[in-house]
């Protein structure tokens, strides 16, 4: 590669890196500015204040929203990982009549737009009196999820069969073979599943919009939307509060990414998941 081309490549990468990262920096910087200076586009705030963070904490039950979100997120991620792994193992390890057809149905459900089942599923939770609670946001994950079943099954299929046959001869039952041998071998795929679902549950807005009514049950994204309606377009024009709350909502995901960067990148590259 010629020298000129090399310099051009680096220059282009540099420009795009700034373009992708700058919105974060801009938002973070704005969250430390007083109301009148929010849109001054200075990288370093002229007047550096922490008032916005204090004010957000006073204006909104942020700690409660954080707790709600964490609860939903952990339950959703753990539930979907355990059950999807079980189901995936059922499809990967055993041979039984109709296996191919049944797995075809699993894949077919991924083609169905969420909009089709959204209303009847709401009606189910409504008839159970669960609308307004956090349960509908995660309980469906107790039954596995097609995409993760697919992902984990692929991984299980790549494992050699010998350790399982050996354990069987040693008298281990199916459950033991699954929990003691298969799951530990499948750790990378389990981690990817946990991370993907953690992100999906943390960032979801549509389901909280459908199911949550009272501010005390809100998740952070739902609360952020409520803050936008109150302090942004809604009329009070305190953008600095909305921005600070956006920073607080986003930071856990950035941390999650850096904790599991390798798994995120690998998971996306191998499954083609668009998140």
């Amino acid at each position: 590669m010629s020298r000129v081309r090399k310099i051009l490549t680096w220059a282009a990468l540099g420009v795009f890196t700034v373009a992708f990262i700058y919105p974060f920096v801009w938002l973070l910087s704005a969250s430390f500015k007083p109301r009148g200076e929010v849109f001054d586009h200075r990288l370093i705030p002229e007047t550096f204040i922490l008032d916005n963070y204090v004010k957000v904490w006073q204006e909104a039950p942020l700690a409660l929203w954080m707790f709600n979100t964490l609860l939903v997120t952990v339950l959703a991620a753990v539930a979907v990982t355990i059950t999807s792994a079980m189901v995936a193992w059922g499809f990967a390890y055993f041979r039984f009549p109709g296996r191919g057809a049944l797995f075809g149905v699993v894949l077919a459900t991924m083609m169905l737009p969420g909009a089709v089942t959204m209303i009847p599923v709401f009606l189910i939770w409504n008839s159970l009196g669960m609308v307004g609670t956090l349960t509908p946001l995660w309980a469906q994950n107790l039954f596995g999820s097609a995409f993760y079943i697919f992902l984990l099954r692929q991984f299980f299929l790549g494992l050699p069969r010998e350790p399982f046959e050996a354990a069987k001869i040693d008298g281990a039952n199916n459950w033991k073979i699954f929990t003691r041998i298969a799951l530990p071998l499948c750790k990378p795929a389990v981690v990817v599943t946990l991370l993907f679902e953690f992100q999906a549950a943390w960032t979801d807005l549509m389901r909280p919009l459908i199911y949550l009514r009272d501010s005390s049950t809100f998740t952070v994204p739902r609360g952020l939307k409520a803050l936008l309606d109150q302090f942004g377009f809604g009329g009070e024009w305190h953008w600095e509060i909305v921005m600070t709350a956006s920073v607080i909502t986003t930071i856990p995901m950035i941390i999650l990414f850096f904790l599991g960067q390798k798994h995120f990148i690998k998971g996306i590259a191998t499954t083609g998941s668009k998140g």
């Binding site: 890196t17 089709v116 107790l142 960032t203 994204p221 668009k274």
Partner: protein
């Protein structure tokens, strides 16, 4: 007597034991499928033929909802908005992510750093992206127009002018091409080096190598992204809803951002027109299927599969 006489009965055979164990492992999915997919699909089809407001029992109205779909000007508007957004955003995202992946692939050092930089925005919750859109694209004092101002360009009112709302949403969607870049990058790493070496010997330049070797070889990946991105774009909701529609008691709205999924959501959960919204959902399903089918037929010819057509 036939030879089967000595065979163990079926329920004690290995095959049945395997089947029983498999069904136990799969049972969570089977139960979930029946409750949260199969029944809802049937119920949704039924509800689409009724008037239902959740409080009173559904009343059967035949195909009235479907007739109403075609007379409702908002459905036309929502479909037009959604198509326009899809047609603008999907190809742009594909071109930008391909360009950035090629750029990354030709860098020799610090690729991990750049990849992280490009991917990080994808971690931002869509609500926050909607809010960022309002800030960055604000007509009077947003960052984008301040940047354009440096070049003497008087930027439009991205967040209020109906003509500029969708272009703003499209530009914002480019911020989250990170996962596409990662997927394309993985495909690029799979292109065998020998092909480039022989092309170099033949004196092919960068442009020629890229568009005669690289792009055809990764075309299955590009095709996959094209289909998946289109399906997602046709259902886009959160960013546009956050930025342009008030929830609860706040009622601001911008018709230029009324996507189909937003209209469906409003009909179902704000106006409680569950029957009509179910019909809207089925129309969306049919539209997505039709568009995906056409895309598959048309683009198939341009996709190169190693070792012939699958």
């Amino acid at each position: 007597m036939p030879a089967t006489h000595s065979k163990a009965p079926f329920w004690r055979s290995m095959r049945w034991r395997d089947t029983r164990a498999a069904l136990l492992f799969i049972s969570p999915w089977i139960i979930g499928f029946l409750i949260f997919t199969a029944w809802p699909v049937i119920n949704s089809a039924y509800l689409s033929l009724t008037d239902y407001d959740v409080i009173n029992d559904p009343s059967f109205v035949g195909f009235d909802n479907y007739v109403q779909l075609f007379q409702d000007p908002k459905v036309g508007l929502a479909l037009r908005n959604t198509f326009l957004f899809t047609v603008m955003s999907v190809p742009t995202q594909l071109v930008v992510s391909l360009a950035l992946a090629l750029l990354l692939n030709s860098a020799t050092k610090a690729t991990g750093f750049f990849r992280t930089a490009f991917f990080l925005p994808k971690m931002t919750p869509p609500v926050a992206i909607g809010i960022l859109l309002l800030m960055l694209f604000n007509g009077q004092n947003g960052l984008i127009n301040a940047f354009l101002g440096v070049f003497g360009i008087d930027g439009p009112a991205w967040t209020t002018d109906p003509a500029w709302v969708k272009p703003g949403l499209v530009l914002m969607s480019l911020w989250t091409v990170g996962s596409s870049i990662v997927i394309i990058l993985a495909a690029l790493r799979g292109v065998p080096q020998e092909l480039y070496d022989s092309a170099l010997v033949d004196g092919a330049g960068w442009w020629r190598r890229t568009f005669r070797i690289t792009v055809p070889l990764i075309s299955p990946t590009l095709f996959f992204l094209f289909i998946v991105d289109s399906i997602n774009a046709l259902q886009s909701f959160t960013e546009a809803y956050t930025a342009f529609f008030g929830s609860g008691n706040t009622t601001y709205s911008n018709d230029a951002a009324l996507f189909y999924a937003i209209y469906l959501f409003q009909q179902a959960f704000e106006f409680l027109h569950m029957g009509y919204a179910s019909a809207l959902a089925w129309l969306l399903f049919i539209v997505i299927m039709a568009i995906t089918g056409v895309q598959m037929l048309v683009t198939r010819r341009f996709v190169h599969y190693e070792g012939g057509q699958p």
